[in-house]
């Protein structure tokens, strides 16, 4: 109880030091998780986390915070499963409630082909020990009585993939919890600090240039999501990443009636109701590449249209606000984690696109191990940047029309 009254700073601000062992660009959830695990598991604490904005102001503060591990491929499933398990322990580990609500996650099928796609996932999940199964209309009705399961819909719901451990988390709480833990270990978080250049000498990195001065370091980790290529360009490392806006919106608060996360790839929409009672609605990515986060009307209209396909009774419920983030999309809907082929100790943990929040604990943990030990743990090995040169893309795109 006393912890309620104690007013400790969650994280402090610092002057920039002249050098750090590791400089992480981007203090979103991936940068923070990697820093946390560097300090916690490997004793690497001379770490600077740089962000040009406020803490968690990138996609980590803009996402719909859906967590799940019912992926499709044998590479993806164990990785996301490890991540969800780390999230399950996170409140205890950080001494800070990250409000992981494991309300269960339903992916809807509206066609025969949709059912087949879900079946592939259900079967693969079961084989790999993830709780996930195809359910029929009767069970959907029992779980989500408020949804339109009638056949008056143009594309009636036929079945769903039910994933009980999936759910939503309070994204800001994760960011703040990690930040506090990093701060307690002496890792420095520098907000309002923009990286404008990286100096290198041949294959070696020498320093990172920021709007607040230059920092000597040999090791840089790129965690800048939608801006990933702007950082890798600084050391001439090409990344097959394109940036697309992704938008979401929230409605006025209602008394709770929807207790699961609902995702429909056919309708390009995902909906859940927060503990405050608001409905959070997410869209598919915008049709055009852009760095512009300005909200657009057509996307808002689409979100509304698709939501009403699922919940026609909500037509008079009003949307309160709409926002967007910039997503770093890769050709195969899988992330890029590894060291650049062209530059020593230029690491990246990017390409998280529209689905990376759920991956942060595991990605950060294994990225930290890679940086600290110099060798890549097997579980993240498939995500190597070298796969693009070798033409060995991963198979998540097949399951990722709307992937959160």
């Amino acid at each position: 109880m006393f912890s309620l009254l104690r007013k400790e700073r969650m994280w402090r601000s610092h002057d920039l030091r002249r050098r750090y062992d590791v400089v992480i660009v981007g203090a979103g959830v991936h940068g923070l998780s990697t820093a946390y695990h560097l300090g916690q598991l490997h004793g690497v604490r001379s770490v600077a986390l740089l962000d040009r904005g406020y803490l968690g102001g990138g996609n980590s503060g803009r996402n719909t915070a859906i967590l799940r591990s019912n992926y499709r491929t044998p590479e993806g499933i164990p990785f996301y499963d490890a991540s969800v398990k780390l999230y399950e322990q996170m409140s205890e580990e950080l001494g800070w409630n990250v409000m992981f609500s494991q309300c269960g996650h339903l992916t809807l099928a509206h066609s025969d082909a949709g059912i087949v796609g879900l079946r592939v996932r259900a079967e693969n999940n079961q084989l790999m020990g993830v709780d996930s199964r195809l359910i029929d209309l009767g069970e959907i009705r029992r779980l989500v009585p408020g949804m339109d399961l009638s056949d008056r819909a143009r594309y009636p719901i036929l079945a769903a993939l039910y994933h009980p451990p999936g759910g939503v988390i309070r994204h800001d709480a994760v960011v703040w919890g990690y930040a506090r833990a990093c701060d307690r270990m002496g890792i420095e978080i520098h907000t309002d600090t923009e990286v404008t250049g990286i100096r290198r000498n041949g294959r070696k990195i020498e320093s990172v240039v920021t709007n607040r001065g230059e920092i000597a370091t040999e090791t840089v980790l790129n965690c800048t999501a939608g801006w990933a290529t702007t950082i890798s360009d600084m050391v001439s490392v090409p990344l097959p990443i394109v940036s697309y806006p992704l938008q979401a919106c929230v409605t006025q608060p209602l008394k709770p009636f929807l207790h699961h996360v609902i995702v429909s790839a056919t309708l390009h929409v995902y909906v859940n109701q927060t503990d405050k009672g608001e409905l959070v609605i997410g869209a598919e990515i915008d049709p055009y590449q852009s760095y512009n986060m300005r909200a657009t009307l057509p996307t808002l209209e689409q979100m509304a249209t698709y939501t009403l396909e699922l919940f026609p009774q909500l037509h008079a419920i009003r949307v309160l606000r709409q926002w967007g983030g910039i997503c770093d999309m890769t050709p195969d809907f899988a992330p890029i984690i590894g060291c650049a082929e062209e530059v020593d100790r230029f690491y990246m943990n990017v390409g998280w696109g529209t689905y990376g929040f759920k991956a942060a604990p595991a990605a950060g943990k294994f990225t930290a191990e890679m940086i600290a030990t110099g060798s890549t743990p097997g579980i993240i090995a498939p995500f190597t940047p070298a796969r693009f040169r070798a033409g060995k893309l991963l198979g998540e795109k097949a399951a990722a029309a709307v992937s959160h």
């Binding site: 700073r9 919890g177 608060p253 033409g391 198979g395």
Partner: protein, 874 residues
Amino acid sequence: MSTFDFDGHSVNAEPGDTVGSALYRAGQRVFSRSFKYHRPRGLLCAAGRCPNCLVNVNGVPNMPACVTPAREGMVVRHQNAWPSLETDALSAAQHFDFLMPVGWYYKVFRSLKLWHMVEPHIRAVAGLGEPPGVDEIKGEYEHAWWHAEVAVVGGGSSGMAAALEYAGRGASVVLIDDQPSLGGRARYQSSAADLAAVRERVSNEAGVRVLSRSYCFGLFEGNLLGVLQPNPHGAVKERLIHLRAGHVVVAAGAYETPLVFANNDLPGVMLSTAAQRLIRLHGIKPAATAVVVGGGPRAAGVVADLKNAGVRIAGVVEPAAIRSASGGHCVTGVKTDTGSIPCDLLVICGPLVPDAGLLAQAGAKLVWNQAHGAFLPTGLPPNVSAVGSVCGTGLAGTPANRGGASKRSFVCVCSDVTTADLDGAVREGFDHIETLKRYTTTTMGPCQGRMCQLAAVEICAGLTGRSMDATGVTTSRPPNPPVSLGALAGPRHHPIRRTPMHDEHQQLGAVWLDMGDWKRPRYYRAGSGDETACVRAEYQAVRERVGLIDVSTLGKLILQGRDAGKLLDKVYTHRFSDLKPGRVRYAVICDESGVILDDGTIAALAGDRYFISTTTGNLEFVDQWLRWWLAGTGWDAWLTNMTSGFAAVNLAGPKARETLRKITDCDLSSESFPYMGCREAEVAGVRSLLVRIGFVGETGWEIHCPAEEGPKVWQALMKAGAEFDIRPFGIEAQRLLRLEKKHVIVGVDTDALTTPIDAGMTWVARLDKPDFVGRAALTQASQAPPRESLVGFEMQDDTLPDDGAPVVLGGRPVGRVTSARYSPVRQRTIGMAWVPVDHAAEGSAIAIRSGGRLVQALVKQAAFHDPEGGRLRQ
């Protein structure tokens, strides 16, 4: 006069009343309960901007009573209070507020188990209004698209002046105002005569189109305004107007916000403009005795209005002197530095905040102006301007009265955030306005920060010692004011596409399948047979006699021009420039990474004219993709989408030739019309394109004819085939027929990562062509063995695995079944599956998981039916 029902009581409403004003006149003072502490709340802004009077109207939750017009027979219910507004059990929460300082839930429930236990209880008390019942699905909405040279947002004096000025210069102007009549605050602050004169001028100005009671909720890219107009006509509930304007003038004015002091949220504490609205727009005497907080001409104006309404003025107090409001359910007095004054209304002349959200959305920067006491827009884009109080005109800064940290001084009335909460949060390091917002949820309530943003920024600046500008404001996001999902979605039309032969199928007993927008027969119900029996009968007709399937849904494109072949060579993996007129070739499109995007056939009608077919679902994509690659080349190639212009059928089976021969003069012999050939000829007297291909593995012709002649050709074929007992067949039979031939269906057997190399169709990728989309990737892929291959298999027992069942090796999924069916020719279950390359050899054993257990199958390389393709060529 009309009456409506409020919580079971009948309430009278005068003409022009809103639900809120009628309730207030009837003596209602508590309108809602607050979000967290369930404190009683009363009318605060009376302008639809604060969260205090949200009620349920006719089943719709969260409606602002103060701006909802009162209508006869309405059913109005309170929200978020139990058992009643007056005695709300959960208001006990406020006595435990010391346990619930801001962010308490982050700190108390620090294990997942504990959180899972309490979360349902927290959820249970969350939310404001009740969600509508599942059957409340009625509601008509409309979308409209307007254009104007100039759009003026805000019908106050400066908005009207701007509209008149632009119209005077000859521009077409749309003037949008959210009130029932033009005038803005002049409606309740100026003399009626002055206002009438300007209104008259506006209504006489032909160039100005006035949209009253309509609000603009967002200013989007390209000067697109989202405008919501309620009840535009008839039964339409709301209309969303997409208004594209050459120039946008924002004249949205400024709105009043509360002052922060202890108990500032009590019912009876009211903004001065709210009191003026009640008095001058609704003729209500708002109280017996009032104290006015404020000074200067604003306070004087309100005092005069109150006096005119018969209210006794117990005092006029400077904001800095206010200590707290007192009272339980409603205000009973006010404590000042010099003593207490009893009253039943406390009127606040609060800070005026320019309504600059639209300008911020357009890219304006909001800069603090001390003299005006407001953030004012600067740096507007060239085709957006602002006039009136939204730019600070007439605003005189109100001295801030922010007291100290107190647990009863509410900054954010939506989320029950107090000055003590903000103070605590800043001390915990949430000192950036954006993190402060997220941690305390200030500005994130139903009013979207209208009532609290300025106060929160001032308090944050005060606590951190930063300037107002360094503190800054949070981002303004649309839609503000909020907009209903229904209005955003508009009239929800669900297009259904039917082929020209739809009625034929219906009569033949078609059971329908949705394929995108199309309806296609899945199978035809015949006799008393179940699906399996019907499909089997259709299958047998094709294999043994003759069958007819409607393939009108295939995409049909005509490409012509000198460089048509060049474009096809560029986009498709195969070569087409050398395709002789009268010949057809299978065609695959890949993306740059070699992944199959679509397949179909291309028929050369002439040297510079090609007929392209695409899969049903990918027509729009292929159309765009071809245009995309054509753009900028300067090539002479013209693409026309003929999909709806043509009907198409596929006639197939050993008796297909005999059937077709009866109704065409075209020589159908294999010598003059070989497999993979095409001819233009008359069928049943209809000019048609005949393409000899064989997806189902039998002699057959795809016949394309003008859509309106489709039924005629269909009927003629059915009649001609009657002698052979012809059958129409549907998608299910087709899937089985093609599976026996191992013909790939893009999207079923392939996924978003399949290349032709993986799919065993190396022959379609002409790597010897100098260039085509995907060539580099396919060249690379062809040099290394693929990881997986698409193979045929036969089950060893009578299990029928589901489509999508995994292929398992060592307990891990290593592949999947794309399609499996019982094969009448093989008399066992066959299928296609993705398997690891080292399991792709003829006869390899693979394990498939079906119904939770593993079953054995053997890999088959050759097609299951007619592997040499002799029947196709017959």
